[in-house]
């Protein structure tokens, strides 16, 4: 399976995401923000970082990158897309996912190991996990507070579209402890914490993030 990893100017975590894709058993394909074709990938990851310096709003400028027009079109046809951290922000700005990520409620940039619960394991990115499985992966962001209006929140809750929640104290003020969500179709997933930094106990708090990358292989093989 070919999984594209997009690099925008200012992206940080593209190398780790590509490593995680390979560790999960797929082929990692580098995509550049200015690319005008998706190189026949089967899925796409938007990694973390500070694309375009987070100018204007996080993800606001990346949304208009040429490669994003292709991603938006492909996502509409059902291609699995995973946005991690800044990638999640880009997906919200692109309106592929509802809501927005705003400044952490305590204003601090957080960088820590965070326990989350996978509450929807039916997406192509979470199927390797057991329902309600708890994992510990790094959380590192300044603008990770998920906000949306009450109607959207009720929809997300009612349709099982929250894929992961923070466990314990709310780290950033996200509504309903939301760490990750999916779109109505279930192919586009946004996640604030970083599974790609937790694929090996030597370099991460656990290897429990690997499930996102084995999930996508399983989803494609089916």
């Amino acid at each position: 399976m070919r999984v594209g990893v997009i690099t925008f100017p200012g992206t940080l975590d593209d190398r780790d995401a590509a490593r995680a894709v390979v560790a999960g058993g797929s082929e990692a394909v580098s995509l550049w923000h200015a690319d005008t074709d998706l190189k026949n990938v089967d899925a796409v990851i938007l990694p973390g970082g500070f694309s375009y310096g987070d100018y204007l709003r996080c993800g606001a400028i990346s949304r208009f990158a040429p490669v994003m027009q292709l991603v938006i079109e492909a996502a509409g046809k059902g291609m699995p897309v995973l946005g991690i951290c800044n990638g999640f922000q880009v997906l919200c700005e692109s309106h592929l996912l509802p809501g927005a990520l705003t400044r952490n409620s305590d204003l601090h940039f957080l960088c820590r190991d965070q326990e989350i619960e996978i509450v929807n394991n039916t997406t192509p990115w979470t199927s390797s996990y057991k329902a309600d499985e708890k994992i510990v992966i790094p959380l590192k962001n300044g603008e990770g507070s998920f906000q949306c209006d009450d109607t959207t929140l009720a929809e997300l809750e009612g349709e099982g579209r929250i894929i992961a929640r923070y466990v314990g104290q709310n780290p950033n003020g996200s509504r309903n402890l939301i760490a990750g969500i999916t779109n109505a179709r279930g192919n586009v997933v946004g996640l604030m914490p970083h599974p790609e930094h937790a694929i090996n106990e030597l370099t991460g708090p656990s290897a429990q993030g690997l499930g996102f990358f084995t999930s996508i292989l399983n989803a494609m093989v089916k």
Binding site: A60, C92, A100, T102, R103, N104, S105, L107, Q147, G173
Partner: protein, 81 residues
């Protein structure tokens, strides 16, 4: 030369931690006037001559698409001499 100004503010129901931080810093400096503070963004756009209705319509569109995120923010477009 006229200036088109776009003010972007977080919607009232969206938490504004930056505004709150400013509000709590003010009394520490002896300023006691603030009941609350909201922080926003201001864009100043210069155009040649008086802005036309068409230009203002374009700015409205840009404010909707790029300058603000309608999910969490409101904007106001106005002209300054």
């Amino acid at each position: 030369m006229a200036k088109i100004v776009v003010d972007v503010m977080l919607k009232p129901e969206i938490l504004d931690p930056q505004g709150n931080a400013v509000a709590s810093a003010l009394p520490r400096l002896g300023f006691s006037f603030a009941k609350s503070v909201r922080q926003g963004k201001r864009f100043e756009i210069e155009v040649e001559g008086e802005p036309t209705a068409a230009q203002l319509a374009e700015v409205e569109k840009a404010a909707e698409v790029l300058l603000s995120n309608p999910v969490i923010e409101n904007y106001v477009v106005k002209v300054e001499k």
